[in-house]
């Protein structure tokens, strides 16, 4: 049985001051004469209640196979222990965690989620108990005349609860076996839709998948995914990822730097911001690189986003008659703007794409800082320590 993380209030410490109930923007906290309790099915883990709690009682979490109902919570004198459950078949976690480790290696050291990120659910479904999702759509989002075949795949999760956050990824198990008769490895894909679904309140999610030429055991997963037809079934594991998550507070400035399918989490975060805080005081800045406009995933929809909502910078490295421009080049040109953002404790940086981009982006930040009187190594360390600098590359 898979476990979920349930937000609870420690009744032995809580002083019933009502502050959390007052603070909760969506009425997920209620009380009776005895206890203050959190409604599992309503709470979005926005954590607005945490800092305001005078006792720390609110910062209580338990792993549960079956969430405690508010009626049960209302009778407690003390918190119960974690419930026992299975987080997946043996060895499967190792497989996923080693993939995640590689992806987050650029982070150097333990990554932290933004302070205002929602609490993610992770490892709900593993190879031993995958969710069967049904394909609701599969569209090519790059021009047909380019080499790059990038697909927007929408999966419908039916009646299975599969809570995700922007920045998380899921695993896909390709059917069949490899040449040695072993099941195929899982493949991880970043979710490109926001937490409430590709279409709000449908239980679905979107992925952005690039077809990789199938050679020497490579590309099995991507070709399987890219060839899916509407109505096909796929085995899904996850969700995975606990730190590459977006800040929830509207004051947050989010700098997103991506290449190719690294656009997926950026699309999710942008859609989330647009749905819940379309006029947020925090700025959104996107640097997205590809070879040509035709190669660029979501090129069309990106053009339609209002300029006062997001600052979109598209960089192309193979435009006829133009010098090659990479994301780091455009960032350097925007030094003035970026240095101002970097000075704010409310600025969060997300980098996603091919491994090769890490170095260039780091050098760009270093150059910008040097030119504007900031010390990049110190600043980068501080941003990492405070969950404000996130790298996911492959």
């Amino acid at each position: 049985m898979s476990l979920q993380r349930q937000h609870l209030i420690d009744p032995a410490i809580c002083i019933r001051c009502n502050t959390c109930e007052e603070m909760c923007p969506i009425d997920a906290i209620t009380h009776n004469d005895l206890n203050y309790v959190v409604k599992f099915d309503v709470c979005e883990s926005c954590l607005q209640c945490i800092a305001t709690c005078p006792t720390g009682a609110i910062d209580s979490w338990r792993d549960v196979a079956k969430p405690w109902s508010i009626e049960e919570q209302m009778t407690w004198d003390d918190l119960p222990d974690d419930q026992q459950g299975d987080v997946g078949g043996e060895g499967i976690d190792g497989e996923v965690s080693s993939m995640l480790e590689k992806a987050e290696a650029g982070q150097a050291g333990q990554a932290l989620a933004p302070f205002s990120a929602a609490q993610p659910s992770v490892n709900l479904f593993a190879r031993g108990n995958p969710v069967i999702a049904r394909v609701a759509g599969n569209f090519r989002i790059t021009d047909t005349d380019t080499e790059s075949d990038i697909r927007h795949v929408v999966l419908d999760l039916g009646s299975t609860s599969f809570p995700v956050l922007e920045g998380q990824c899921i695993g896909i198990i390709s059917p069949g076996v490899d040449e040695n008769g072993n099941p195929h490895h899982q493949r991880l894909y970043s979710i490109s839709s926001p937490r409430d679904g590709e279409r709000p309140n449908r239980n679905n999610l979107a992925l952005t998948i690039k077809r990789v030429a199938e050679t020497n055991l490579k590309g099995v997963g991507s070709n399987f995914m890219c060839d899916l037809k509407k109505g096909d079934e796929v085995q899904v594991t996850g969700p995975f990822g606990q730190t590459f998550l977006m800040p929830n507070h509207p004051e947050a400035n989010i700098i997103m730097i991506a290449t190719g399918t690294g656009a997926a989490p950026m699309r999710a975060m942008t859609m989330r911001r647009q749905r819940v805080h379309p006029h947020a005081p925090g700025k959104l800045v996107l640097y997205l690189g590809s070879r040509t406009p035709g190669d660029l995933p979501y090129f069309g929809p990106l053009q339609k986003l209002p300029r006062d909502f997001i600052d979109v910078n598209l960089c192309f490295s193979r435009l006829d008659g133009q010098p090659r421009e990479y994301v780091q080049d455009r960032m350097q040109k925007d030094g003035e703007k970026l240095s101002k953002l970097l000075e704010s404790d409310d600025t969060f940086v997300y980098i996603c794409g091919l491994k090769g981009m890490e170095k260039g982006v780091d050098e760009a930040f270093a150059g910008i800082c040097a030119a504007h009187g900031l010390d990049w190594p110190t600043l980068a360390a501080k941003m990492k320590e405070t969950g404000r600098y996130h790298i996911e590359t492959y």
């Binding site: 002083i15 019933r16 001051c17 007052e22 005895l34 305001t52 005078p54 507070h249």
Partner: protein
């Protein structure tokens, strides 16, 4: 030297856009700091204290913990954001848009409400100024200072209203807040309960549980006010007040826990022999602090309270959640009074019973806190129960003030009271014993013997965290 107050005073009221107000606060601030230096916590100006500073009203602004020297604490002005749709929810103006400026016809009444509330804030700082010298741990010392700086901020909140909305007489009232002093025979604080020194930490914990809880209920009633700036100020103050409730509730809980530990470890009822505070003595302190705190709600029947309500200035606790017509002209409310040799409940006009209703809400809240204390005793398997005394017990204000009763609410003669009150209230000897325990503990993580360690650290810090550095 000109000070940039828009930076110096964190605020969400666009202070820098209002030159007049900025200047007024400019002239008040040095006096405030002088007052803090003279009558704030003793000998503490050089300490680095791990404090929570409110730097904004959104939840994130609350997470700001850092070491601060208290005179450098950034006392700011914070109001919960304007709700453009807010209406007056009770009284004769019910349904009209909430006032953004002082309604001229109620100016004097409003000023009085604000001054009375504001006066209690610096008063409690003055009452508690010597406690730092006998704190039972660094954790407690830090909590005391947190309470003190937040009372200071609450004074700022009220002074902002006086300066911002009441012109010259508001400025004079703001000055007077710093001129009256707790226990000063010539210029005492307005409410009598705020003129007594808080002599020891048990009194401090009881004070924050019972007396600050009165503050919570007064603030909650003012947070319903039709005068929107007052409502928004008090709404935000309530979130800070919760910390004071925590200090009181958890402080007493830890004293109870320590007493229970001693009783079970040593299989004895003689807690004092092992340097603890016995539950019977806690009951006496509880009786005292509860009874002086219920006095703060005023007379059972009050035309002043009725007028404040009808004018739309001060509502009931959680006014908008109450299902009635919010005018109260036709309603009755049960009020206790002495008839013959009995205390009975009679129907009184709901409008003039506003104080009593708030007192009832307060007593119910106290009772649930005491129930939680009793759970600790029960967990140790001990047969003892702390009880809230009857509302008629040891009263100085209201219809019971001319009678004497037992804590159970049985009427007794003055003669019986004179011989028995030492059974129910702390005696000089009791207070001397408590005083004898008051020794400062400064080693991180260590507690005085009479109190158990807290269940959780501030901001999730570990038990050995150095909450105060003495330099």
């Amino acid at each position: 030297m000109s000070i940039n107050y828009s930076e110096k005073i964190p605020n969400n009221v666009n202070l820098s856009d209002d030159r007049r107000l900025q200047r007024a606060l400019e002239s008040w601030q040095p006096n405030y700091l002088k007052w803090w230096g003279a009558l704030g916590p003793n000998d503490s100006s050089d300490y680095d204290v791990y404090l929570r500073t409110a730097v904004s009203v959104d939840p994130r602004g609350w997470a700001h913990f850092d070491y601060v020297k208290m005179p450098d604490y950034r006392w700011g002005i914070f109001l919960t954001p304007v709700d453009g749709e807010r209406k007056i929810n009770f009284g004769r103006h019910k349904g009209e848009a909430a006032w953004q400026e002082v309604p001229g016809e109620y100016r004097a009444e409003l000023r009085r409400l604000i001054v009375t509330q504001g006066d209690t804030e610096p008063a409690s700082v003055e009452q508690q100024r010597a406690l730092g010298l006998t704190a039972p741990s660094l954790f407690d010392l830090r909590n005391l200072f947190q309470v003190n700086v937040e009372e200071g901020r609450h004074l700022w909140a009220m002074v902002y209203l006086l300066h911002g909305y009441f012109g010259r007489d508001g400025r004079e009232e703001a000055e007077a807040m710093l001129e009256r002093h707790s226990g000063d025979p010539d210029k005492p604080r307005i409410l009598q309960a705020f003129n007594e020194e808080t002599p020891d930490w048990l009194s401090f914990f009881m004070f924050t549980f019972f007396t600050d809880r009165d503050g919570k209920y007064q603030l909650a009633s003012l947070a319903e006010s039709g005068f929107d700036p007052l409502a928004r100020s008090c709404r935000f103050m309530l979130t800070e007040e919760a910390h004071h409730m925590f200090v009181g509730e958890s402080g007493v809980a830890r004293v109870i826990k320590r007493a229970c530990e001693i009783m079970t470890e040593h299989k004895t009822d003689d807690v004092r022999a092992h340097g603890g505070i016995e539950l019977e003595l806690l009951q006496k302190y509880l009786n005292f602090h509860f009874s002086v705190s219920v006095d703060l709600f005023g007379h059972e029947l009050s035309t002043n309270a009725a007028n404040f309500y009808t004018m739309g200035l001060k509502g009931r606790y959680q006014e908008t959640k109450i299902d009635d017509n919010h005018l109260l002209t036709e309603y009755v409310y049960k009020v206790s009074e002495v008839q013959g040799d009995k205390i009975i409940q009679v129907d009184a006009p709901a409008l003039t019973s506003i104080n009593e209703r708030l007192r009832d809400d307060y007593i119910a809240d106290c009772q649930s806190g005491v129930n939680r204390w009793n759970k600790i005793i029960k967990k140790f398997g001990l047969d003892f129960e702390l009880k809230i005394p009857h509302r008629s017990f040891h009263r100085g204000i209201g219809s019971f003030s001319t009678f004497q009763t037992t804590p159970e609410g049985k009427l007794i003669t003055q003669a019986e009271w004179d011989t028995r009150h030492s059974e129910w209230l702390p005696t000089d000897e009791d207070r001397a014993y408590i005083q004898s325990l008051m020794k400062r503990v400064t080693e991180p993580g260590k507690m005085a013997n009479w109190i158990a360690p807290p269940d959780r650290g501030i901001n999730n810090q570990n038990p050995e965290f150095e909450y105060v550095r003495f330099n």
